[in-house]
Amino acid sequence: MKSNQITLTFSSIAENVSIARLLIASIGGQLDLSLNDIEELKVAVSEAVSNAIIHGYKSNPNNIVYFNLEITKDSLIIVVRDEGCGISDLEQAMQPAFSTDPERMGLGFVFMQSFMDELQVDSKLEVGTTVTMKKHLKQTPISSH
């Protein structure tokens, strides 16, 4: 697969989570991954994008979420960025079952971590949050089409 750069920016409304999911799934299709791998990518992306909308922007629809994909020979790099409120205690936020919202499960970062090969979160209060996730790609098996 050729190298490829894709950027999606969108209003922070819940409907757009599905657009980000479709985009990553389509890229998973281009990379000829298994349905299982594609599902995992979708979950990781959903969690990161939902966090940007719900936590970063407090569901205010007038903000913009930045979603960037880079495909190289051996990896898929996904960046989800918001210019929202930021995270005050990152170590705590990333702990399983921790959430600042009692209604939520606090498993978003756990999913990102377990479904991706690398996860890095950078955040600054009142500046925003950037989530960078990497998936190593196997050298492509012979695909017939």
């Binding site: 599905s18 999911r21 479709l22 799934a25 389509s26 998973g28 299709g29 281009q30 000829d32 991954l33 298994s34 349905l35 299982n36 791998d37 594609i38 599902e39 979708k42 979950v43 959903s46 209604e103 499960m105 999913f111 098996p141 695909s143 017939s144 089409h145």
Partner: protein
């Protein structure tokens, strides 16, 4: 978790054309058959070839039938 499931279900009414459901049924069957034959997970391209559709049709159908509820159902079994 029951609360959350109900919330997600009520909050995201998803309309699914019947053709998508049928396609997903075929996809799942092809996936099982191919994976058994190959002895590993089939790729989406292999599944697409075997049932004669584009990969993106599979992608669109899977997203359309996917409600947030089903994500959590899968993950919390």
């Amino acid at each position: 978790i029951g609360e959350i499931r109900r919330f997600l279900r009520d909050d995201h009414p998803v309309k699914v054309p019947r053709s998508y459901k049928e396609l997903v049924y075929k996809v799942n069957r092809a996936r099982d058959e191919l994976s058994a034959t190959l002895g590993r997970e089939a790729t989406i391209g292999e599944i697409a070839n075997s049932i004669g559709v584009d990969r993106d049709e599979i992608v669109a159908a899977l997203e359309a039938i996917q409600s947030p509820t089903s994500i959590y159902d899968t993950l919390y079994q």
